[in-house]
């Protein structure tokens, strides 16, 4: 007998490099319980009870998003978009899901379309991810008899901001992967000016299983505030980096053990990707993953990227590198982001190099405060959240760099057993 809290769910029976075809998919998960047209609202209520939150980064309640599009004026035709364009450089979870279980995502897209009454469904995948593109294309061709609305595959050029939902809608309409000014949000005016639901592919895969098995089944794993399972990508100094499906509320320490434990002495963990927050190694024991749990601690899970920084790495150099990446990946549309992020990255680089005045970090903090909430999208806000956590968690290292003392990471003997050179 199958236990209700058995994991994996989304990645059940899957193998990297060989996507589950339709027969295998139906064997694994059973027939898709696509709700009848009249059941749209009923299905949204079930999703609300399940507590499913968006797995793309924001953690926004899925049922609220479904409801917003379903509530659009009756005469307007609706669009649903599956967002498989993960922009986080370390994140592999959406790509893995699409490559292993493409039908589960397409089932979820069909459920979403039925919920909101959409007559157009689009699935967006990174164009350079040939494995995911191939799996999705093959899956779509198998489903012509299954779906009321045929999904269309759109290949999107990879970029950090491509997965931002207004950028994705803009790309579908105009071919330009740039965020747009809000309002209007996609649920008001999205693809072709129509009310549009943009939902992460993992969220849709959960939706597909909730439609089959119900809200209670979903909640059998995870906690009250962070129910269900979730996909995470573990990277950096662990024994077995990769994508894992875990209870959404798993303690971080347990996840690291699950991923093979530390491969060398760790000094910090970056949670939530490049726009996430640093946590010192000694804080890890008290941390629980999950959007609600992280939010309560002042962090954010983002798209579920966990990066372990080894003690032999310089945290200031690492932070400067990420700040520069974020500056380089600004869309360049809004002044505060276009000029502010490079200034902040420059200050961190100067500190990392040791060629700076004491107090240089205050400039990074000053510019951070200045760009706050002044972009059309949340890219600058994510960048300054990351920078603020670097200034906080690595304050001592920054002082050592600014005052010309040796960097702890590279001075010999400090990182016992893990000397850098």
């Amino acid at each position: 007998m199958e236990s209700t809290n058995a994991l994996p769910r989304l990645l059940a029976g899957s193998q990297l490099g060989s996507p589950a075809d339709l027969d295998r998919h139906l064997e694994l998960h059973g027939s898709p319980a696509v709700p009848a047209q009249r059941a749209g609202r009923e299905m949204i209520d079930i999703v609300a009870r399940s507590g499913l939150k968006g797995r793309g980064g924001s953690g926004f309640p899925c049922a609220v998003k479904l409801g917003a599009v379903a509530d659009a004026p009756r005469r307007r035709r609706r669009v649903v978009v599956a967002n498989g364009v993960e922009g986080e450089p370390e994140s592999r979870k959406d790509s893995t899901l699409l490559s292993c279980s493409p039908h589960l995502v397409l089932d979820g897209l069909a459920v979403a379309a039925a919920c909101v009454g959409a007559d157009e469904a689009i699935i967006c995948v990174k164009g350079d991810d040939s494995e995911a593109v191939g799996a999705v294309r093959a899956a779509i061709s198998e489903r012509s008899a299954l779906d009321a609305v045929q999904a269309e595959l759109v290949e999107v050029p990879s970029s950090y901001l491509a997965g931002e939902e207004t950028a994705l809608v803009n790309f579908i309409d105009t071919g330009s992967v740039l965020p747009t000014f809000i309002p209007p949000r996609p649920h008001e005016r999205g693809v072709g000016g129509r009310p549009t639901l943009v939902q992460n592919v993992e969220t849709l895969a959960h939706l597909a299983l909730i439609a089959r098995r119900g809200a209670e089944w979903f909640r059998a794993v995870g906690s009250e505030e962070d129910p269900g399972s979730t996909l995470v990508t573990v990277a950096g100094a662990v024994g077995a980096p990769g994508v894992y499906e875990i209870p959404a509320s798993m303690p971080l320490g347990a996840l690291i053990d699950h991923a093979g434990g530390y491969s060398e002495a760790a000094q910090a963990v970056l949670l939530g990707g490049h726009e996430g927050t640093w946590w010192a190694a000694q804080e890890i024991a008290g941390l629980r993953l999950g959007h609600a749990a992280m939010l309560a601690r002042g962090g954010n899970l983002g798209p579920g990227v966990i990066y372990v920084l080894a003690r032999s790495d310089c945290p200031v150099a690492e932070s400067a590198k990420i700040a520069r990446y974020l500056a380089d990946h600004s869309a360049g549309q809004c002044g505060p982001c276009t000029f502010g992020l490079p200034a902040i990255a420059g200050a961190l680089e100067a500190i990392a190099d040791g060629h700076c005045e004491p107090g240089t970090h205050r400039w990074a903090a000053h510019w951070s405060a200045q760009v706050s909430r002044r972009g059309a999208c949340h890219h600058p806000d994510g960048a300054i959240r990351f920078v603020a956590s670097a200034l906080d968690v690595f304050a001592d290292d920054i002082t050592r760099h600014e005052t010309g003392d040796a960097c702890m990471a590279t001075s010999s003997g400090v990182a016992a057993g893990a000397a850098a050179e």
Partner: protein, 71 residues
């Protein structure tokens, strides 16, 4: 209640707004406006309207304030 908002994509840092309504608009070191998000008192609304009208890229907007937390 009325607030000022800037469309940062449209804004080109001409800076006229800060000259016309310095009570509510400052410029950062690159010349882009930093807008005070509080509701504008009625006696200053004329200044706000002049700043909006002067923007060469139509980036400055007067808006009715939405309740907090609305998506």
């Amino acid at each position: 209640m009325t607030i000022l908002r800037v469309n940062p994509i449209a804004c080109d840092a001409h800076g006229l707004c800060a000259g016309l309504f310095p009570e509510w608009i400052a410029l950062d070191e690159w010349g882009y406006p930093i807008i005070d998000g509080r509701p504008i008192p009625p006696e200053l609304l004329d200044h706000a309207r002049r700043a909006v009208a002067a923007c060469p890229t139509l980036a400055l907007l007067l808006e009715a304030k939405h309740p907090e937390g609305e998506r």
